[in-house]
């Protein structure tokens, strides 16, 4: 009873309480100070669902080989922006974009851009683990086979390499022929990462990769991101601000389709420039 009473009190007087609330302190990453080269650059980039502008005129450079976290309340357009990068939104008939989104100097939405090639370059891992209902081996080998790797030996090496990178090899090396759906949720998600890595992408898009996982599996995925840091450009959408602060170098904060703030993670969490950002990271709304 007392707890509920206190809660009631706190909701009525948020403003005065804010200073007491904990702010997660992200690690200060040395390399952030060195800056970086842009890998994906958005210029006045908007995404529409019919008449609804889900992402509004975003201008941002996503830096090569850095981990960038995208945070924001539900429905703020962060997933839409992420899916816009590898044109996953093309599946939605009413969806279109304006402005430009460049990747390696090539317009992602350009007329001559091949989306299949683009998606090979920009791999994606989804919110819910979605392995194919096939064997573990076939799950990983599917991408390389698509892109023309036929030799069995090469495929085997590739599968092992990808599974090792995704820190899954030791757990599954004896049962590569088993159905991937028999793995646990966390293993399935790492399998999905391995599947994406197997086609050797430059950019990894992770759309809330741990939201369906328990803390232990989440920690493994975070370790994995730590491991991949520096080899891939990684974008991760997350609802979990501690996670964003733990794993990312830079953080983008979206609110109602606008990119409110984009800064090195430490700076964004300790010294946000915008009032909305501060309200969000201090938990005043979500």
């Amino acid at each position: 009873m007392q707890i509920t009473a206190e809660k009631k009190e706190s909701t009525t007087s948020v403003a005065t309480e804010s200073s007491k609330r904990e702010i997660f302190l992200p690690p200060d990453r040395e390399r952030v100070r060195e800056g970086g080269t842009p890998h994906v650059s958005a210029k006045n980039f908007s995404i529409f669902y019919g008449n609804f502008e889900a992402v509004k005129k975003v201008n941002a450079d996503i830096l090569s080989k850095y981990v960038t976290a995208i945070i924001g309340p539900s429905g703020c357009g962060k997933s839409t922006f992420l899916r816009g990068i590898n044109r996953m939104n093309d599946l939605i008939p009413s969806c279109y974009t304006t402005g430009t989104l460049m990747c390696d100097g090539e317009d992602i939405y350009g007329r001559y851009t091949d989306e299949v090639q683009l998606r090979k370059k920009i791999g994606m891992v989804f919110q819910k683990p979605n392995p194919f209902p096939k064997s573990i081996f076939d799950n990983i080998a599917y991408g390389p086979r698509l892109h023309g790797v036929k030799d069995k030996k090469t495929l085997e090496e590739l599968v092992e390499k990808s599974l090792r990178k995704a820190a899954l090899w030791d757990e599954v090396k004896d049962r590569l022929e088993r159905n991937a759906l028999g793995l646990s949720g966390g293993q399935q998600q790492r399998l999905c990462v391995a599947r994406t890595l197997a086609v050797d992408p430059d950019i990894l898009l992770l759309d809330e990769p741990t939201s369906a996982l328990d803390p232990k599996a989440t920690a493994k995925i975070e370790d994995l991101i730590e491991e991949l840091r520096g080899s891939y450009t990684i974008l991760i959408v997350t609802h979990n601000m501690q996670q964003a602060s733990r794993v990312s170098d830079y953080t983008m904060f979206y609110y109602e389709g606008d990119l409110i703030e984009y800064a090195p993670t430490k700076q964004l969490f300790t010294n946000p420039k915008d009032q909305v950002t501060e309200d969000y990271i201090t938990g005043r709304f979500s």
């Binding site: 009873m1 007392q2 009473a5 590898n86 996953m88 599946l91 008939p93 299949v116 090639q117 998606r119 090979k120 791999g123 994606m124 891992v125 989804f126 819910k128 979605n130 392995p131 194919f132 209902p133 599917y142 991408g143 698509l146 892109h147 159905n179 759906l181 999905c192 599947r195 994406t196 197997a198 086609v199």
Partner: protein, 431 residues
């Protein structure tokens, strides 16, 4: 504050639980009632099915047996035409053999009555026997020849012996001749191979279902070969590739409407387009199959689209995410996962087509066809049409043939469905 809130809470909780308790009994009663209704309806349908099956089996099982008469046929020199045995007078040989067995029958009318106890197929039995292994002159062949359908009915108990002569199709004299056969152990019911090996006939004892089975088989083959690929291609295109606009909406509405069109309309279409305009041969499995294909297509398309819709989008996203093209997504992920559902739709459509009579009326498949079809362009009957024709025939012996034909049709259906279920099991993946 603490106190008051506790009181408040408990009072609130008490009230809620009272309300719940009050309604609880009623809710359970409702559930029980609902379950009872369910069980009742299942029991009712099971009872009707059992009733149907027993009535068919009770009526039809006797058709699998056929009364035969053992006849000693003496072959004398000159009876068989040496140069061309096929041209010999086998009817005459049979008749003389019958006369030999009943030496006291001399009058013309009596003789005719006597001959009518034997099937006209007896001569063909003798002919086949003679052609297969030519007998030497002077030998006596002992043959089990078919009895006439009236004799068959008498032996199976469908015709009473103790009613007045005017009320049965066999007169007292004929009954006495049959009794003589019975006393000599020359008449018995044997397995009816004719029923499973020959085509239709006006004589019940010579009529068989095999021609209709073959006809149905060829027709279904045409239907399956056309409707499965066309239906699946249409469903995949509409579901996966087609833009969602007015034109595709229009097509969708029309496909749904076509599924509800009376089947005889498809028959009319077949008559007008395939027979009259394209001049295809009438009464053939080819045209029948095409007409049934038109009828089956909407069912297959609708079921296949539902199966495609049921494939989770996450699989498509996953495949697209590693760089598959749209076709690769469909062929290597979506299609295998949707195939069991598509096969289910196909089974339903094919089962419907197998039992269809009305559209086939229009393209001449109700003709009386004796020959067993050897291909897609031979005139043929199909099983439901054969059942319809036999049900329409006046002879008592066709009653049991009709039921037996229904059993064969059901057997065909079960075999077809079993094959499809096996295929579905093979393609099904653990999800």
């Amino acid at each position: 504050m603490n106190n008051s809130s506790t009181k408040n809470g408990s009072r609130n909780a008490g009230r809620t639980i009272d309300i719940v308790n009050k309604g609880l009994k009623r809710r359970y009663r409702k559930e029980k009632r609902f379950r009872l209704y369910g069980i009742l309806s299942i029991a009712a349908s099971a009872a009707f099915l059992a009733f149907l099956l027993t009535s068919i089996v009770m009526n039809g099982y006797s058709a699998f047996l056929q009364t035969c008469i053992r006849l000693d046929v003496p072959i004398e020199a000159g009876m068989i035409d040496e140069s061309n045995p096929k041209r010999s007078d086998f009817q005459g040989i049979i008749k003389s053999a019958i006369r030999e067995y009943y030496p006291d029958v001399t009058e013309r009318r009596e003789k005719r009555e006597l001959y009518s106890l034997f099937s006209s197929g007896a001569a063909y039995q003798l002919r086949n026997n003679v052609l297969d292994n030519p007998p030497e002159a002077g030998a006596t062949l002992s043959l089990w020849v078919l009895a006439d359908d009236d004799v068959d009915m008498l032996m199976k108990g469908h015709m009473k012996r103790d009613v007045p002569e005017s009320e049965r199709r066999l007169n007292d004299r004929q009954l006495r001749w049959i009794e003589k056969l019975e006393n000599d152990d020359r008449i018995e019911k044997r397995f009816n191979t004719t029923f499973f090996t020959s085509g239709d006939s006006r004589e019940p004892e010579l009529a068989g279902i095999w021609g209709a089975v073959r006809g149905s088989f060829y027709t279904m083959l045409v239907t399956l070969a056309l409707s499965f690929p066309i239906g699946i291609a249409a469903a995949v295109y509409l579901e996966e590739f087609a833009p969602k606009n007015l034109a595709t909406d229009f097509i969708e509405v029309n496909i749904n409407n076509l599924a509800a069109v009376p089947s005889i309309v498809f028959g009319l279409l077949g008559l007008a387009v395939f027979l009259n305009f394209f001049g295809m041969p009438r009464s053939t499995p080819l045209v029948g199959g095409i007409v049934l294909m038109l009828m089956t297509l909407p069912t297959i398309i609708i079921a296949s689209r539902a199966a495609l819709k049921a494939v989770p989008p996450s699989i498509r996203e996953a495949a697209l995410g590693v760089g598959s093209s749209k076709l690769q997504v469909v062929s290597s992920h979506v299609l295998p996962l949707a195939l069991p559902g598509m096969l289910t739709g196909t089974i339903i459509g094919m089962a419907q087509a197998l039992g269809e009579t009305a559209p086939l009326l229009m393209i001449g498949m109700v003709a009386f066809i004796v020959d067993i079809p050897g291909g897609f362009t031979d005139p043929a009957a199909v099983m439901p049409v054969q059942i319809y024709l036999w049900a329409d025939s006046p002879e008592r012996a066709f009653v049991e043939k009709t039921s037996a034909a229904i059993m064969v049709l059901l057997g065909f259906l079960i075999a077809m469905n079993a094959l499809a279920v096996v295929m579905r099991k093979k393609f099904e993946r653990r999800w």
